[in-house]
């Protein structure tokens, strides 16, 4: 299955419908800038939600609040029924359950590919080295970079690094995965290899929140598209409806711009 087929994944069956991530009346300011306004969003277990919107609309901020890389000013965020802890050990434990993939990969530059993937399982999940390495090799194999295990991140292409970053997040066996523009820093020929890994993940039932402008991925793998502008969620719809019949003027305008190119 590749993203270019443009055939929707039939994952309605596996969606159990019980909420895994809930944002309730979330507000956040950066000084005078109201970056997140009245955000209400519920993501069900096994659901894949794509977040799109113009630059500066708050997509990254939304993503980062879910594992509290950014604190919020008011409202509530629940993951698997539990409110986000404030700081310290409990927060660290929470973050271990929420996988995150960054636009700029952020692999640990001084560690090998294998060590990048085993660090969390060994230090946070307290697995033995052998156990963590076994599992890491399986995951690296799954994302297609098994033979690079002993290299350093700088020796890999962007696409390979991003796939390692996905493996690193998966090694923690997260309940939900957050992706913040995972393919925006990649050359066009590498985008597909990363999207293929993500589609595979979606098919296996992972709950995913994905900030991306890749319409192919949204159509293929997403259950829902969330459109953001100026810190607000303006529209939520299934991909087909959203792309063919957007409701708000902002969304029409935005789609007009990106679909032209």
């Amino acid at each position: 299955m590749t993203v270019t087929d443009d055939v929707p994944v039939d994952n309605t069956a596996r969606r159990s419908g019980d909420p895994l991530v809930e944002l309730v009346d979330v507000q956040k300011w950066y000084g005078g800038l109201h970056v997140l306004q009245d955000i209400n969003l519920t993501v069900g277990r096994g659901e894949v939600v794509v977040v799109i919107g113009p630059s500066g609309s708050g997509k990254s901020t939304l993503c980062r609040t879910i594992n509290r890389l950014e604190p919020i000013d008011s409202g509530q965020i629940l993951v698997d029924g539990a409110a986000l802890p404030q700081e310290g050990k409990a927060l660290a434990r929470h973050r271990a359950d929420v996988g995150m993939v960054f636009q700029s990969f952020n692999l640990f530059a001084h560690k090998t590919i294998l060590e990048n993937v085993t660090l969390g399982p060994i230090k946070v999940r307290k697995q033995s080295k052998a156990q963590a390495e076994d599992r890491a090799r399986d995951l690296l194999d799954r994302v297609g970079v098994a033979h690079q295990a002993d290299k350093y991140p700088a020796q890999l292409s962007g696409g390979q690094q991003q796939r390692v970053a996905i493996a690193r997040a998966l090694a923690m066996e997260p309940k939900v995965m957050l992706f913040d523009e995972p393919t925006s820093a990649l050359d066009p020929e590498m985008i597909k290899e990363v999207l293929d890994v993500m589609v595979d993940l979606a098919e296996r039932g992972m709950t995913m929140i994905v900030v991306t402008h890749e319409m192919g991925f949204a159509r293929t793998a997403a259950n829902r598209v969330v459109f953001m502008a100026d810190g607000r969620i303006l529209e939520t719809a299934d991909p087909h409806t959203f792309f063919t019949n957007p409701q708000s003027d902002r969304a029409k305008d935005f789609l007009g711009k990106i679909l032209k190119h």
Partner: protein, 224 residues
């Protein structure tokens, strides 16, 4: 001069011992300080910053004077230190020099490491937090190892400055290299130039060794 080679070696022996123990202590203390300074706890950040600006801006001689003359009045003294190894006596003069040098150099180690921490991209710490490492793990597993790589040159500078600063201890009753030299130039005033030259070469050799070690680390970590 050649008749007094053993004195020269003994002087540099004290210098070297003092350098080594103070280097270890200031590296440890400097690492603790930098963790405080970049950490999430406001109080510790402030304490770290105040410590560094106060101690760094105080002349080293003043810190020596403090531990020699003021601290004993406050009940802090090192007269209980009595270690004798081979021909070397490690007593209060040595302990005082060790404490003063370590506390002083830790500031420079801290600032060298902090410049290294700032050179580590934000995304590294974020990725480490995102996999669930607590602050200590983020620092020891991800940020500091990379910061150390970036701080090798300034760390070497701080340690070389400390190596030369060990000579201040000579003024405070420790028979390290400089004090030995002063003694010799007094006893053999006609050979002053030769004596100066010998001790200068000794210092240069020690500093070169530190530089070479630092270069070695720089090379080894260049690729990774």
């Amino acid at each position: 001069m050649l008749d007094n080679l053993d004195e020269l070696f003994k002087g540099f022996g004290y210098t070297l011992f003092l350098f080594l123990v103070s280097a270890v202590a200031s590296l440890v203390l400097g690492t603790v300080l930098v963790a405080m300074r970049v950490g999430p706890i406001g109080v510790l950040r402030a304490v770290g910053a105040i410590y560094v600006s106060v101690v760094r801006n105080t002349p080293l001689v003043l810190i020596f004077i403090f531990f020699h003359f003021a601290a004993p009045i406050l009940g802090i003294n090192f007269r209980w230190v009595q270690v004798h190894v081979g021909g070397f006596d490690f007593t209060s003069a040595f302990a005082t020099a060790f404490v003063a040098l370590s506390l002083y150099t830790a500031c420079f180690v801290c600032e060298a490491l902090r410049s290294g921490v700032n050179a580590v991209p934000m995304g590294q710490a974020e990725a480490a937090r995102a996999i669930g490492l607590p602050f200590g793990g983020v620092m020891t597993q991800v940020v500091l190892p990379q910061a150390v790589r970036a701080s090798v040159p300034p760390l070497a500078s701080a340690l070389i400055a400390m190596l030369k600063n060990t000579s201040v201890a000579g003024v405070f009753f420790l028979a390290e290299a400089l004090a030995t030299m002063r003694g010799l130039t007094n006893d053999y005033s006609s050979e002053r130039i030769g004596i100066f030259a010998c001790f200068a070469v000794g210092y240069i050799l020690l500093v070169e060794i530190v530089s070479m070690i630092s270069l070695g680390f720089e090379r080894r970590w260049r690729i990774a």
